[in-house]
């Protein structure tokens, strides 16, 4: 059956009300860069669609320690904002200019692997994500968003309202490695956010994308880095641990073998950016 109904709520309240009522089960469309290709190919044939672009979720607000970003803010807006540099670098890692003008911050959470480069940056920045539904709002840490391959902890009727990103105290670096310089899927993308006290790592957040069922935190690598300074030896050891704690896969772009080989290399280059 082809599409029967398209909802275009003009506010968050109207969106959540619709989703609790006649728009229940609708496909949520923000930028369209993930859903439309499947619709164009006839793989996905939604009967009800709810478009979010007019629901007032495109904002970037500076709230003292947080940068609050609405779910339909585009990756181009992320690329051009200068408040948190890693968000700009991570946005530029996704697609080309035209795609970034359409793709949204909220949408990137649903990009199947090896997609999700921008979400990895949010993960490394300890961002929080706020859902909203007719029952009200709910906020969790981005690291608790994913529950498995293409599954997450959102409840029915909920949509992503915004992400709240604490301004990083420490140093950050983002590296995306693909077969091309730009506009290409990731072999591995790494976001690092390290806090320092007298040359020693006091806080470590390392997020890896494209080497698991979803963007994941390299918690063992983070623990290892605590209390250490980024010597060549430490970076090398961190790379081995990270390669061990991720679960790379094979696709048309790269094999599992090669992705696992690249984790220490790209983590090394990312940490070196932070070191110097």
């Amino acid at each position: 059956m082809s599409i029967q109904e398209y909802f275009r709520p003009q506010s968050i309240e109207e969106a959540t009300r619709l989703l609790a009522d006649q728009a229940q089960g609708s496909l949520i469309l923000a930028g369209g860069t993930l859903a439309m290709p499947l619709i164009n190919d006839g793989i996905s044939m939604p009967e009800m669609v709810l478009g979010l672009k007019d629901s007032g979720l495109n904002y970037i607000k500076d709230q003292d320690k947080y940068l609050v970003i609405g779910a339909t803010a585009t990756l181009s807006q992320m690329a051009s904002q200068t408040k948190i540099s890693m968000l700009s670098e991570a946005a530029l890692a996704v697609g080309g200019w035209a795609i970034r003008n359409m793709a949204t911050v909220g949408g990137n959470f649903f990009a199947p692997p090896p997609g999700g480069d921008f979400t990895a940056a949010l993960l490394a920045l300890d961002a929080e994500i706020t859902f909203v539904s007719s029952q009200g709002e709910r906020t969790i840490a981005v690291k608790d968003f994913f529950t498995g391959f293409l599954t997450n902890s959102m409840a029915p009727g909920e949509i992503i309202k915004e992400v709240r990103v604490p301004f990083p105290e420490g140093k950050t670096a983002f590296t995306k490695y693909g077969r091309r310089h730009a506009n290409t899927p990731s072999i591995v993308a790494i976001a690092a956010n390290l806090g320092y006290q007298s040359e020693k790592v006091s806080k470590a957040r390392i997020a890896l994308n494209a080497v698991g069922p979803y963007p994941l935190r390299a918690v063992m690598t983070e623990d290892y880095l605590l209390g250490k300074s980024l010597t060549e030896q430490v970076i090398q050891e961190a790379g081995e641990i990270a390669a061990g704690e991720c679960s790379p896969f094979t696709d048309a772009i790269a094999s599992e073998w090669y992705r696992r080989k690249m984790v220490p290399v790209i983590l090394g280059r990312t940490l070196e950016q932070i070191g110097d």
Binding site: S2, D41, M45
Partner: protein
Amino acid sequence: MSERTLNVVGKSVPRRDGMGHVTGKTVFVNDIRFPDMLYLKMVRSSVPHAKILNVDFSAAEKVPGYVRALTHEDVPKNIYTILTLIGVGPDEEYVLAEDKVRYIGEPIAAVLAETEEAAMEAAAQVRLELEELPAVFDVEEALKPGAPILKEWGTNYFVYEGHHCRRVRFGDVEQGFNEADFIVEDRYQTSPIEHAPSETTGCIAKPEADGRITIFSNTQALFFTLDNAAIILQVPFQKLHLVGGTVGGGFGGKVDVIVEPISALAAMKTNRPVKYVFSRQEEMQASSSRGAWRMYFKDGVTKDGRIVARKITTYADAGAYNRHTPYAVTKHAANIAGPYRIPNVWIDAHCVYTNKQPGSAMRGFGVTPASFALEMQMDKIAKVVGMDPWEIRFLNAYRDGDMKPHQKVVEDATLIEVMQAAAQLVGHDLPENLMQMKSGNGKEA
């Protein structure tokens, strides 16, 4: 025609079609639409090798906008003839699969609908009952006894006038090996490659008032397509009228006569215009690609760097069907020995079938893989003999008047001249004796 000064040949005059391109006014096949036009979507195999037990259209027929489907029973002569027309047979590919499918993506049934979305949905609703058969993907495995057989004639290779491969025999290669001081061997493998033109393959077949069918197509060869389509449709040649000539990139990918016959048949059956344009996914996975080639070299070389014997065994991966590969193997055989003067040459070039998307023509047609293998082999010879890679090529380069292994006299040779010019371009100093060499009596214009 005296060699007077030329007025326009030799000048970089602007492209005749350039204005149309930069204003977007050039009309490509996909830009054309007619009232009452139907859209054709193909139901394709999802497995590499299987028996077709049943094709069930009952669900597809319920899709709003569905008009009808076509199967092999509807095709007057359900066999491709692209090579019989140019003297190469037998033809063994079906327009629509009959009892078996032999590659992922092989067309089984065509679905016609009022809109593209309806055609896609209907095609997705067609239920296929397939019984998978063992499949073979490697060219050398396919030739081993016990390998799954793809062809009715009981083998997995094309027969060249009684032989299991295209052969070149020139001089005595074993004698050459005896004279040689070194034997240099290696194995070279290329990969299947998609033409990936910006515009995907497509056509529109439109029934005309006088009963003829006009086919607007981005084929690279209009009459070749007309003749083949007429034979498949079993209609007199004057029934078909091909219009095209503006192709959004061909690269050899639009010479397989794949979309035109079935579209014309659909137009005849419905008396409505029918549009069949590949999706990018079809162009990538179901349309023909450049086949993969595996080439084994064994060369005999003297201490002073002369190649005295070259023995080559090639396996071309034709995929599931011939398309143009049998002829590509012949062209390959005429070029794989390379632009070099070698007195003893032995070539066996096989055209092998495997359960993959058919290989066919692509820019360089059998010579691209040959050049890759040849010029890596020349570097290996240089290393083994301990000679400079440039020098080994100058020494062995063919000259005008030489006899090629396929017994054609060399004419218009300039391998030496292009090497001299390339060395100059990159500032690579060549010894004087190499700079003095000439390929023959050719003179610069």
